[in-house]
């Protein structure tokens, strides 16, 4: 059975008569080939109705555009990638360099002060005064004031007159011990490789064994401790003057004659232990450390050695006359003079005085 193409077209266009519809449907059912033929015609008919909206580009032109893009615009993409890689590597290198410089700079921001043959007195940013003894050195961070802990690394010996700041502990790190303070005057002597010595003039310090964190000694005013053979020695306490139970010293001690044994009136203040219960040792009346009016001490020294008045008058004038100085009379006289020199930045040639000043006599009745 043959079917006219026009009849099939009218069937697809839905313009076929009822008779033509039946004819087509019967024809489709007649054989699989007819059904397949119908399906293919249906596809052509249906898809050809969409050709109106099917846009076609000139394939030669599009291929040329494609080839141009593949040759030109794609290479730059690789170049851009390479450039990005280079920029990334460069950035990483710069960052590494910056970090390296930063760490190097960090090291260089440490300020090192060194004393040669003479003492060196200098002031830290927090107004702490450090007196470096000969051939000693101290280093501290450039941003010392901005750090939470004020730290000075000491090599040798130095006296520290620490500006009080309870919020910022002050550490002195020596080779064997670390001394922690708030505000005080003290000396750390770490000249020797195997020993250290810390003495406190004012305030309180904690001296820590650098090898054992828990090994700490608390030193009060006048205390001192030595560190030797990786351990602390006995803490040296100041002995007490028990002259009068009432501590009311005259503001200005009476001046005695130069030959008098007591040219300097010590302030009768009990340091430690409590004055009401003097230690047995104190009964010996051996005064080891006590406060003396600094002005009287200086005048006494001058009068004792009028030919060697080497304390600068101008500097002496700056000394607070109401100030007191702690003197350990068991110390060699040169140490006492040294302390005065350090504390008040005075200069005094003690060579000729060493044998002629006996401060022990001052306190002895």
């Amino acid at each position: 059975m043959m079917l006219k193409e026009n009849t099939l077209l009218r069937y697809l266009n839905k313009t076929a008569s009822q008779k033509e519809v039946e004819e087509v449907e019967n024809w489709i059912e007649t054989s699989p080939e007819n059904r397949k033929h119908f399906q293919e015609m249906l596809t052509v008919f249906y898809e050809s109705n969409h050709l109106k909206t099917f846009k076609t580009y000139n394939l030669d032109e599009e291929w040329n555009k494609f080839k141009t893009s593949a040759k030109t615009s794609h290479k730059p993409i690789e170049n851009v990638f390479s450039r990005r890689k280079i920029i990334l590597f460069a950035s990483a290198a710069c960052l590494t360099l910056i970090c390296a410089f930063f760490f190097l700079f960090q090291k260089e921001t440490e300020i090192l002060r060194q004393a040669s043959d003479q003492q060196l007195v200098f002031t830290l940013p927090d107004q702490t005064i450090i007196t470096l003894f000969p051939h000693s050195s101290a280093s501290y961070d450039e941003n010392f004031n901005e750090l939470e802990i004020r730290k000075v690394v000491l090599n040798g010996k130095a006296t520290f007159d620490v500006a009080s700041n309870k919020a910022k502990p002050f550490l002195v790190e020596a080779s064997l011990v670390t001394t922690e303070v708030v505000g005080t005057i003290f000396t750390v002597d770490s000249y020797k490789q195997d020993s250290s010595f810390v003495s406190v003039e004012e305030g309180q310090v904690a001296v820590k064994n650098n090898m054992e964190i828990d090994d700490v000694r608390i030193l009060n005013e006048g205390n001192s401790v030595s560190f030797y053979n990786n351990s602390f020695g006995e803490i040296s306490y100041p002995e007490v003057i028990v002259e009068e139970p009432v501590v009311k010293a005259t503001p200005k001690p009476k001046k005695k004659k130069a030959a008098a044994p007591k040219p300097v009136q010590p302030k009768k203040e009990i340091i430690t232990p409590a004055p009401t219960k003097p230690q047995p040792k104190a009964k010996k009346a051996e005064v080891l450390l006590s406060k003396y009016p600094v002005n009287d001490v200086l005048n006494f020294l001058d009068k004792q050695h009028p030919e060697n008045k080497r304390f600068s008058k101008s500097k002496k004038a700056k000394v607070n006359k109401e100030d007191f100085v702690m003197l350990n009379l068991n110390e060699p006289i040169e140490k006492i003079i040294e302390r005065l020199e350090l504390k008040y930045n005075l200069s005094y040639d003690d060579e000729k005085c060493t044998n002629c000043i006996d401060l022990k006599k001052i306190t002895k009745k």
Binding site: E40, T56, Y57, L59, S69, H74
Partner: protein, 180 residues
């Protein structure tokens, strides 16, 4: 183009050109269904072929070429949408588009391939058949309007359209990618 164990490898530029010619326009029209902009669609398809070109040496297609191009074009279209914020695409809409696009290319890309082949096949029609077929399908004229326009009978128009369709079906039947 070689095919081994269902793996396709493009071995020459000529092979690539043939693929380009066969799929460029169908893909542009397919993408345009979503982008509604032929120039953007053309850009997406160019990009699809550029990526394919870039890795043509290593490219081994495990599925059908049609499926590979369909998936590749679809992904490029999504990238293009994200990049240019076309159609106010947001993630939900992207998901919607992705969900609406079938994974199998047969149901969606084949019509575009058929239309493309029909366009090419029109060149093989007899001039009279082609003219009347174009007036009917491209200009949207009724048979009566064509008859009046060409000063011929409506029956003659019908005959020419029927012959054109029959010829197109025969041409397409010889194309292994259309009627299997």
């Amino acid at each position: 183009m070689s095919q081994k164990n269902n793996l396709i490898k493009i071995e020459s530029e000529q092979e690539f050109r043939e693929i380009f010619n066969q799929y460029f326009n169908p893909l542009v029209n397919f993408i345009n269904q979503y982008l509604q902009n032929y120039e953007d669609s053309r850009e997406v398809v160019q990009s699809t072929f550029l990526k394919m070109w870039d890795k043509k040496d290593q490219l081994v297609i495990q599925t059908s070429l049609k499926n590979y191009l369909y998936r590749s074009a679809k992904n490029n279209m999504i990238d293009f949408m994200r990049k240019h914020k076309k159609l106010n695409i947001i993630s939900d809409e992207e998901d919607k588009i992705l969900n609406n696009l079938p994974d199998n290319e047969e149901s969606i890309l084949s019509p575009y391939l058929i239309r493309n082949e029909l366009i090419k096949a029109l060149e093989q029609l007899k001039p009279k058949n082609k003219e009347i077929f174009l007036l009917s399908k491209f200009e949207g004229l009724t048979y009566e309007e064509i008859a009046n326009h060409l000063n011929i009978s409506k029956r003659t128009v019908e005959d020419n359209v029927s012959r054109a369709m029959s010829s197109l079906k025969t041409i397409l039947k010889n194309n292994p990618n259309i009627f299997k």
